[in-house]
């Protein structure tokens, strides 16, 4: 049995997947190093790295805990250490977590809807969240502290509406996609409507940044917010990869093999929505990652979801962290939303792949 398990692992981690994972980790590490070393606050590389290994922080569990939990920091830290530890490092972490969640969410939705265009935002989530953000900013501006939560809630509500409408003694991928698209567009119309009531440019800018996806201003608070769901999402998504594989065989076959297709589809959608909402709540709607990462990974490791989910777990963070280097440093000290960079980097790369490979895009 354990020998068997080993065989299994060996079979899963074939050359392609291993290469992908290694490359992704390399990108994340290099991206992280760059992010930690450079930024608007002037310090030398040496200072930056001294700050990373500042003994006041790394030898003091209280400080680490205080950072992570958002408590008052018990000692007085230098500006350098503060910048590195409460701005630069957590931002990299948020990027990793957001990337992983989005990629997994997209991979799941592509299986559930059997639609090659499915992304984490397919079931109305992004526009639901965007609408909630605008509503909060414009109508309930007193509650803007809860923006992330409202955003995630907006996404979830949209998803529930979509499911309720698509349900007709069962759903079907086509019904789900269509209802998701329409509900999304309705929310988008509302959103556009609200734009016209925006009192000032700041609100418009904030809303745009939200709906474009941005890591600017993220810190340990965001790490906390997204880490908890991620700790649940990642292991579960690895476990359900078998279900995902089976769903791709089509409903009828899946059912005859004893899968409760409706239940599984709902649970998987809920999982994907949870992942998308976790990402949305800290980074807004980062476009593209959830759509193209699964396609790229699939192109490398094949359609087996055991490999695909694993690959997404690494490739997603690589794209987001890599893009965020550009978002933060390209026009330093001005920062652009990372969602723009993911689009501008990931999109053309995807098109390049598409030109090279015939099969890209098939599920």
């Amino acid at each position: 049995m354990s020998e068997n398990f080993e065989k299994e692992i060996n079979k899963t981690f074939d050359g392609a997947l291993t290469a992908l994972v290694v490359a992704s980790i390399a990108i994340v590490v290099i991206g992280g190093l760059v992010q930690v070393s450079f930024g608007a606050f002037t310090m030398s590389l040496e200072q930056a790295w001294r700050a990373v290994f500042d003994p006041k922080v790394i030898t003091n569990p209280d400080v680490l805990l205080a950072l992570l939990l958002g408590n008052e920091i018990p000692v007085d830290l230098s500006s350098e250490t503060t910048v590195v530890w409460s701005l630069r490092l957590p931002r990299v972490l948020v990027g990793i977590l957001v990337g992983a969640n989005l990629a997994i969410s997209g991979a799941i939705f592509q299986a559930v809807t059997r639609n090659e265009l499915a992304s984490p935002y397919i079931l109305g989530v992004s526009h639901g969240a965007g609408f909630a953000v605008l509503l909060t900013l414009i109508v309930f501006s007193g509650l803007s502290v809860f923006l992330p939560i409202f955003a995630a809630l907006g996404g979830i509500v949209a998803f529930i509406i979509v499911y309720a409408i698509a349900w007709k003694g069962g759903t079907s991928p086509v019904r789900l996609v269509l209802a998701g698209f329409i509900v999304g567009t309705i929310f988008y119309s509302f959103q556009r409507g609200l734009f016209f009531f925006a009192p000032d440019i700041g609100v418009v800018q904030t809303a745009l940044a939200w709906t474009t996806g941005s890591l600017t201003g993220t810190g340990w608070e965001q790490v906390r917010t997204v880490l908890i769901p991620t700790l649940f999402i990642v292991p579960v998504s690895l476990v359900v990869s078998r279900q995902l594989n089976l769903l791709l065989l089509g409903e009828r076959t899946a059912r005859s093999l004893g899968m409760s297709v409706e239940r599984v589809r709902f649970m998987l959608s809920a999982l994907a929505i949870l992942a998308a909402s976790a990402a949305i709540s800290v980074a807004g709607i980062v476009s593209f990652v959830g759509l193209i990462v699964p396609h790229i990974v699939r192109n490398i490791v094949g359609t087996d979801y055991r490999k695909l989910v694993l690959g997404c777990l690494f490739a997603g963070p690589a794209l987001v962290v890599g893009a965020d280097v550009g978002a933060r440093l390209a026009l330093n000290p001005i920062q652009v939303p990372v969602g723009i960079v993911t689009g501008l980097v990931g999109g053309p790369y995807f098109l390049y792949l598409m030109r090279k490979r015939q099969k890209l895009g098939e599920l």
Binding site: M1, N4, V239, G250, S256, L257, G258, T303, K359, E362
Partner: protein, 299 residues
């Protein structure tokens, strides 16, 4: 033979079938292992079934249908006579408008989906293949109902898949993608998947579609072995009546959504049946392996 309806049906359904069967089995070959059966084979039964699709009326009506334990029951009938519809209802793919389907006395609708899938496998008439799935992976999907939510593949899964690939004769195609197979090869891969499911009951809707003669025979031999050596209960739809007569223990002839006749092939397969049900003029001779049908012309 159309006059042999209501009463006959009565006679045959009220449990008298088992004894009748025993007599029948004598004049069928391949029964050598029959008596060594453990007696744990499952029986599939439908009662008072009325079956239809969401937008259609009732399409199949059937007072009583039995797929006896450990035997091969062939369903024959013209196109559109309701064979697939009946099989769908028996395997719970279709919910009958009324009536019950029982597996070993239990209503199939009361069983958990996975539980049922461990006991009953269905090969559909038409299967859409995801092009880039390999044959082996398709077969592994057959193991789905045997694995818990958190379990990974076991040695048992492995063995079952190997055996299924072997039985279906696609071991050499294991790493091929479905999209690059011929129609017949694809059909064999689907058969391997159902076999890997390792169930007590198998319902096969035209498993010999697309297959060449050799593979047709191979599949039917495998089916016979499974029924007679491993005590599987098998329902099979076939269009080739000679084959049905040769391999099946029982034959159910459907016409217009109703059973027209059933019983051992030697009794059911007559020139009258071929004319009445199939609208074909044919001669029925007796060959060494049961009735042989030589079709002449459509009526």
């Amino acid at each position: 033979m159309s006059e042999r309806t209501a009463d006959d049906r009565e006679r045959k359904t009220d449990g008298g079938m088992v004894t009748e069967r025993d007599e029948r089995e004598v004049d069928n070959e391949g029964k050598t292992n029959d008596r060594q059966k453990s007696g744990t084979a499952s029986e599939l039964r439908g009662g008072d079934l009325e079956i239809g699709y969401p937008d259609s009326g009732i399409i199949v009506e059937c007072e009583s249908i039995i797929v006896p334990a450990g035997e091969i029951t062939a369903f024959v009938g013209p196109n559109g006579s309701g064979k697939s519809t009946l099989l769908k209802a028996m395997s719970r793919e279709l919910h009958p408008e009324s009536g019950v389907v029982q597996l070993d006395g239990e209503d199939v609708h009361s069983l958990g989906t996975k539980t049922l899938a461990r006991k009953l496998g269905l090969l559909s008439q038409e299967n859409e293949s995801p092009g880039n799935l390999t044959v082996e992976n398709l077969a592994y999907h057959g193991r789905y109902p045997h694995r818990g939510f958190f379990e990974s593949k076991t040695e048992e899964d492995h063995e079952a898949v190997e055996r299924a690939l072997e039985l279906a004769g696609v071991t050499h195609l294991r790493d091929e993608e479905m999209g690059s197979l011929s129609g017949g090869q694809r059909q064999l891969a689907w058969i391997a998947m159902v076999l890997a499911q390792d169930t007590d009951v198998l319902l096969l809707d035209e498993p010999t579609t697309y297959l060449d003669l050799r593979h047709q025979l191979r599949v039917l031999e495998v089916v016979r072995t499974l029924a007679h050596e491993e005590d599987l209960t098998i329902g099979i739809v076939l269009h080739d009546i000679s084959q049905a007569a040769r391999y099946a223990n029982n034959l159910v002839a459907l016409r217009d959504g109703e059973p027209y006749d059933w019983g051992p092939p030697s009794e059911v397969v007559t020139e009258e049946l071929l004319a009445d049900v199939f609208g074909v003029e044919a001669t029925v001779g007796i060959g060494p392996e049961g009735p042989v049908v030589t079709p002449r012309r459509p009526l």
